[in-house]
Point group: none
Chain length 193, copies 4
């Protein structure tokens, strides 16, 4: 009784292919084959390669910024918010390693119009981080840093690294969250007693 969800199949296939390659080395043919449909079918469901890619990438970005936002408005301390965001970030990055790869493999993109949209999302996330940091400064748990630059660094830490490791040492996500949180909060210097 259930209809075939071809569009879903295509998106799944595209996720696979785009995460292993990048926008330019991925061809519509590759996606069609992975999805088990014809090239024409791709164009029935999406107007262009870019539109298909957009849907994937923007969905991915949304997954982050929307959740960041949710944490940001909770009625908890900045410290807890940072922990939650890192926890969420690491978990999602691990579970959606493919999406994360698409994000990573396509920093640079196609049409500038599109690029702007991506940057906008990026800036949204940075703004959210910034506000949390400002809250923390007011609460006197975060030191009086430049919030914007610090936000950029936190995002860099969150996005750049995790997928690379998992296969190696941190099979244990919990440890990875702790590690990341500690790095961001305390840095690497040994506290002298």
């Amino acid at each position: 009784m259930k209809k075939k969800d071809t569009k879903g199949e295509i998106l799944k296939a595209a996720l696979n292919i785009f995460s292993q390659n990048n926008y330019h080395t991925t061809s519509m043919m590759m996606i069609a084959e992975e999805a088990g449909v014809s090239k024409g079918t791709l164009y029935w469901h999406f107007n262009s390669k870019e539109e298909l890619f957009r849907e994937l990438l923007l969905n991915g970005l949304d997954m982050f910024s929307s959740n960041f936002e949710k944490v940001a408005v909770e009625d908890i301390s900045a410290d807890e918010k940072i922990y939650k965001i890192i926890k969420f970030g690491v978990e999602v990055l691990v579970e959606n390693a493919k999406t994360a790869n698409i994000l990573r493999n396509n920093v640079e993109l196609i049409s500038s119009e599109f690029q702007e949209k991506v940057e906008e999302k990026h800036n949204q996330s940075i703004d959210i981080f910034k506000k949390i940091l400002e809250q923390g400064i007011k609460e006197e748990t975060i030191k009086d840093c430049n919030p914007r630059n610090t936000a950029v660094m936190m995002l860099a830490v969150l996005f750049t690294s995790h997928a690379d490791w998992l296969l190696e040492e941190f099979a244990d996500i919990e440890k990875q969250i702790e590690f990341t949180y500690d790095f961001v909060m305390n840095g690497i210097r040994r506290k002298e007693n």
Copy 2:
């Protein structure tokens, strides 16, 4: 009486073009035009587009890892080494913004053989950082973290973020170095007195 250094011109042109675009959106024609030579000339000096790109990218990576290495073997404390490396990293990233862009815009690459070489360089840098961290742990100035993961994070912090800012708040490189060093060493938590 000095001959035209055509190969040099080509490399300079390629640096310009590759830093504004990426590997796949850059065509040999664009490079030839920028260099003021014909496409054929490109192929006299380089066997392929990939080889030309390789020279640029690998040179860029070398610039970092070789200097990291130099710092690593100096007879100074780990703490000082970290400072020097960050200082060097930020300065070079700023001065060689174009090369840095190539690195950023082409995380993902072409042939897997090439990709391995890039990863190898990357791992070299990580190893150097790791050793410095281990030195620091022994010296008891760095806390007892997982050195490899910490090294990855330091590299992420160093590479991902700087170009974005410069135009904005940190016209002053010194401040940027301080900021980065402080972030890595102490994190963002406020020290209670």
Copy 3:
């Protein structure tokens, strides 16, 4: 209680679209949208794009040749026949501007088999004109020209020109008929008294 005349709607829509574009720039999708039906419906009523187009074009051609024929067999002088045919031609061309455009925009066509059919209709019209001219020669009102070539020229005059003008000077159809008739009958030379 009248049923929806879907086939009629399709033909009307096709007339609109084909008259603004031409066979190759008109897609089945465009016609389907204009008709407010799905592409599948088009294929229920017509076996192919060509068949749909054929119906339109051949209908258009028929409108002319059948009326020409009617005039041809009337019991009037050749002179009167020519006037009637020009009158009819101009009027119909004006009223059925869309059909006329289809005729004009698709001189060259698709399958040669089809093309032959179009040429056949064309030749039918020429033959009718030829006979009228021969009648006129016998009646000594038409000069002793080559009737076939003259017929071709009359058809050219009739079909090629009218649509272009209407918007300009001849809002008045009567004048246009007079002008065309005079051009064909008397040419442009001034009669000397």
Copy 4:
């Protein structure tokens, strides 16, 4: 010692193919094969299919309007000018039957920008005819007609018909010229003595 004139070969091949088919039924592949070069070579010499077609069509149109202009400024009577133009038109149309076919087969075209250029050339020719007719009216050899409409008709007569016949009855171009001239000047009515 003579170099291969590849661009010339391509144009010749394109003329062949475009005159037998039309813009949309002619593919770049067909032209490449006819010219004995690869598809890529077409794009070395022309930026697009449209540009290639443009060169052919606009050249063709120029051939006419430029020669019309030359006749128009000669110091002869309007009557003689008309004869010369018809003579030239018929001769060229016959010799360049292929170009003439391209003109005929592509009344409707591609980009509207292009279409405007074609219409401009068309209007140029009409203007030239108009001026000649006005001269004739002043000289009292042409009757007092509407010059613009008459010009349109003359052009229609000139362009629509000739190629079709030659194969048939008028192997003799001279006769064809006479016939056309007579049709335009005197129409078909028999002069009564």
